[in-house]
Symmetry: C2
Subunit: 338 residues, 2 copies
């Protein structure tokens, strides 16, 4: 059996997360028992939610256990099987975590999903046709529920969720304005993801200037907003919401590394009669098949072809997460191992 | 025609509202034109939203115009009529504002409503069977939408909205915990309004102590919350919400007199997957008949019999509003003129 390198959470961050929080070890992969398969990971998924789970205490997910392999989504290939439904060479998506191989009880519901669509790159099952894509779909269709012609906005527009959101919002006939950090991301959002406009938040470092920029970008106000960032960007967006606007809250990455960032003026929720709703896409597994069918069709047709940020080798995983938290990725952040 | 005394908004508050913002004048009531009626006001409604309208600038309602009669709900009696459907002696509810008489174009839709139920005191049409009652009904049934057995909480439990909310929540089979200021209000909420418990916020002057008190009062957490106060009480409640709790936001009285009070930890909306929704009951006129039918039945049967705080004479109206904003009322605040 091959040697398996693993990234463990060694200790919890105090304030900002750092490379010292992780530890790389090598172990022998065990022999397979009946019903198990050995998966070689081609891609590890790197996602913002992982930062929240590195903390102890109450969050929407149980904390990542200390001294254990960092949990996360993976896409790979079966290299050995003692399960009748899996054969060597099958492409599979699962939750193998930050390691080169995983041994999976393949009968366990949801542990592995075989994927086989030649039109869709394997890595997409961790992004546009995976959890981030379904996240965009859920927030858009189930919370914002837009009418054609409405103006929608989203922070982190060029990320994994944002790339799917832009394409889906255009499919719904909306005007869609992105927010992203820096001209490269903004040009990418407008030129390749279908955004009508993209506001570079690095040019607007406070709620007042950001709000003024959004007023220009959304002259008819904002009817729906998808939030993964929080902090002053959320404050600025709320100032530009129309009556009865809907805010889908799926992350607050700006506050992950320190104390909670307050919301400056909750009175706007009242005066503008907003609906602000938090959600976690794993609460709604019953809707995934429908969402994935739509996303797969868009990806296969070429309408949904977002770029990815890829680093190589298991040793690069911690830095990839820290980079993501600081906005250094363009599109879905992945670690490629094969 | 009689002399009519009126309270005008003379100037806008800078910070806290004060008696100096108002001006009492006397005018002659004009002669009636065809289609008009003269209403003598028996009761003026005093409501928290009036403070928001005293400010200039964007709010959910247009600002109260300067130099004009303070707008607001009224209940009274027709004393002269040039409209075929109204006769001297008819009891009517309308929006006559802070004055002793009003001349009403009775054909205008919604300008006047005749009321005639011997089981229901006239003043109730400004409270339990009026706008505050419908506000409680809307937040409860349309936003919180509780299941029997759930725990609900409400701030300002002994006020006009709170008195209806407690009774309605018990009708829905919920456990209902009030928050109010001082032992008198809390005992009233528990002994007369049906609250299972009432937490005296004056004993818990910050979010930490308030949250601990709510943990005791709501050992199974909070599934629905009706908010009219804001500030640290809202922060404390959010800390005790269960997953998928709903927050109906109908007022933020704690912040009306000064700069906006922030929400300390919007991350809880995400981690607990909350829905926080602002609403103004006048946006939903299509539901009023249904709400009023339920509230009337409860009032007529004696189940909904809240107390009122009544001051006498038009000169007392400004102080009544300031008292309401400082929590000095018990139940619906009214000015009685006749």
């Amino acid at each position: 059996m091959p040697i398996n390198r693993q990234q463990l959470l060694d200790n919890r961050p105090k304030g900002e997360a750092s490379l010292d929080n992780f530890k790389l070890i090598s172990v022998q992969t065990p022999s397979l028992a009946d019903g198990q398969v050995l998966v070689r990971h081609h891609f590890l998924s790197i996602d913002p939610y992982m930062r929240g789970r590195m903390n102890d205490g109450k969050s929407y997910a149980t904390p990542q256990p200390l001294g254990q392999v960092m949990q996360g989504g993976t896409a790979g290939e079966v290299v050995e099987s003692r399960h009748p439904e899996y054969a060597r060479g099958d492409k599979v998506v699962g939750s193998g975590g930050w390691q080169e191989y995983s041994v999976v009880d393949a009968s366990q519901a949801g542990a592995l999903t075989k994927v086989s669509n030649a039109e869709i790159p394997l890595s997409y099952y961790l992004g546009a046709v995976g959890m981030p894509g379904v996240t965009a779909w859920y927030g858009l269709t189930q919370i914002i529920a837009p009418k054609p012609g409405e103006t929608l906005a989203i922070s982190a527009a060029s990320g994994a969720v944002g790339s799917a959101f832009g394409v889906l919002a255009k499919e719904h006939g909306c005007r869609v304005v992105g927010i992203a950090g820096g001209p490269t991301k903004c040009e990418y959002a407008m030129n390749e993801l279908g955004y009508d406009l993209c506001v570079d938040y690095k040019r607007y470092p406070d709620a007042t200037s950001m709000s003024a920029a959004l007023k220009q970008a959304c002259p008819e106000g904002i009817d729906g907003y998808f939030e993964s960032v929080g902090g002053y960007i959320l404050d600025a967006v709320l100032l530009r919401t129309n009556t009865f606007a809907r805010v889908a809250l799926c992350g607050l990455i700006a506050g992950y590394d320190g104390p909670p960032l307050p919301l400056a003026n909750p009175g706007l929720i009242l005066t503008n009669r907003l609906k602000v709703q938090g959600f976690i896409v794993s609460d709604h597994m019953e809707l995934w098949p429908r969402a994935l069918a739509e996303l797969s069709a868009l990806a296969a047709s070429g309408k949904l072809r977002p770029r990815e940020s890829i680093v190589h080798g298991i040793e690069a995983a911690p830095a990839a997460l820290l980079g993501l938290l600081n906005g250094r990725n363009l599109g879905k952040q992945l670690v490629q191992l094969v």
